[in-house]
Symmetry: C2
Subunit: 207 residues, 2 copies
């Protein structure tokens, strides 16, 4: 199992948590996004879209973190990160999708660079970033149940998305006081080695 | 089964296709996004995030189209819209996620309005829109297999995402000639009543 990875990519961070959580050993292949390694021919041969993460499992390459995460849960069912009840599964996936669709895509490197190319200075770009984090986290806070993880006593897919998003929120100094359930879930996750070992600063390619 | 819907929402359009494809009858409850009905207290009581779609199945409300679609495939397994083989499932989900994460979130109404509030005129906003559609469709064209649907002889989750995205691409006059596989899949889908009946112009709330 080989993970094409970048320490600060929150999509890659989700997958690192999932692999640790499932107890699946993997080799990390760092692709330095700021240096542009994702656009080098060698990496485009792996993932023509030129984004991380990509997972190589016995030669089958899977891209897009939502697809990789569902694959890992299907391929390595224990411990599960989706509840069995169908409505509860949907609630967990909805919280994950809110982070994965309504927050993160608006704040990735390609988007921030596009805003810069459109003439925006850093403070306006930072405002943009925080706007989507704040409106998104408000919605997540209302959707999750707590207990102490997002949905009860064990981490779920929602927690795998939440922790990397909170890492980003802190980098951009977004105040987290309005989100007590989110903060409790994040703290519960970060007490677990699966989450701690996946943190950006614990990766070999961290600056 | 009640779908909180808006004829031009591509996330709602995906869910309409899925419900038709599964043969599940539903009642459409239109929420007019341009008139702001998504922010009215009555709708916020259904979905505190104030977005469509939301699906009410016997009183259980499910939000976020990726979660709704997985729920429908689990709850109504026939006909399936995911292959059985785990790697193929992941490939289908990856194409869907690329559209659902890397194209659509950058082009939704809230984002376009934000750009306007940041001082951009309509031509710059249209350029933004087309940029994410073009770079995204290039990646999708490379990922799908054809045959004639995105992945073989039957529609999958990838087709459910593709058709609404192409509807948007045409609205913004994005040239589709560079994407022969995408065009073939779209045409194959639109020959099916499940897809045709879900089209924006076929909805009761279409202007």
């Amino acid at each position: 199992m080989k993970l094409y990875d970048y320490f600060r990519s929150s999509a890659a961070y989700r997958v690192r948590i999932a692999l640790n959580f499932k107890g699946v050993p993997y080799e990390s292949v760092p692709i330095h996004l700021v240096k542009g390694e994702q656009s080098a021919p060698a990496y485009l041969a792996v993932n023509p879209q030129g984004r991380v993460p990509a997972l190589d499992h016995d030669g089958a390459v899977i891209v897009q973190s939502p697809a990789i995460l569902e694959y890992l849960d299907e391929r390595f069912p224990e411990p599960p990160f989706l509840p069995r009840d169908l409505v509860r599964r949907a609630r967990v996936r909805a919280a994950a999708a809110l982070i994965g669709c309504d927050i993160h895509p608006l704040n990735n490197l390609a988007v921030l660079r596009r805003l810069k190319a459109m003439g925006h200075e850093q403070p306006a770009i930072d405002d943009w970033y925080r706007h989507w984090v704040v409106t998104g986290l408000e919605a997540v806070e209302a959707m999750i149940e707590g207990g102490p993880f997002c949905f009860g006593e064990a981490p779920t897919l929602a927690d795998l998305y939440l922790v990397p998003q909170l890492y980003n929120a802190r980098r951009f100094a977004v105040p987290l006081d309005p989100y007590p359930r989110i903060q409790a879930a994040d703290a519960a996750c970060l007490a677990l080695p699966a989450f701690r070992d996946a943190a950006p600063e614990a990766q070999p390619d961290a600056a």
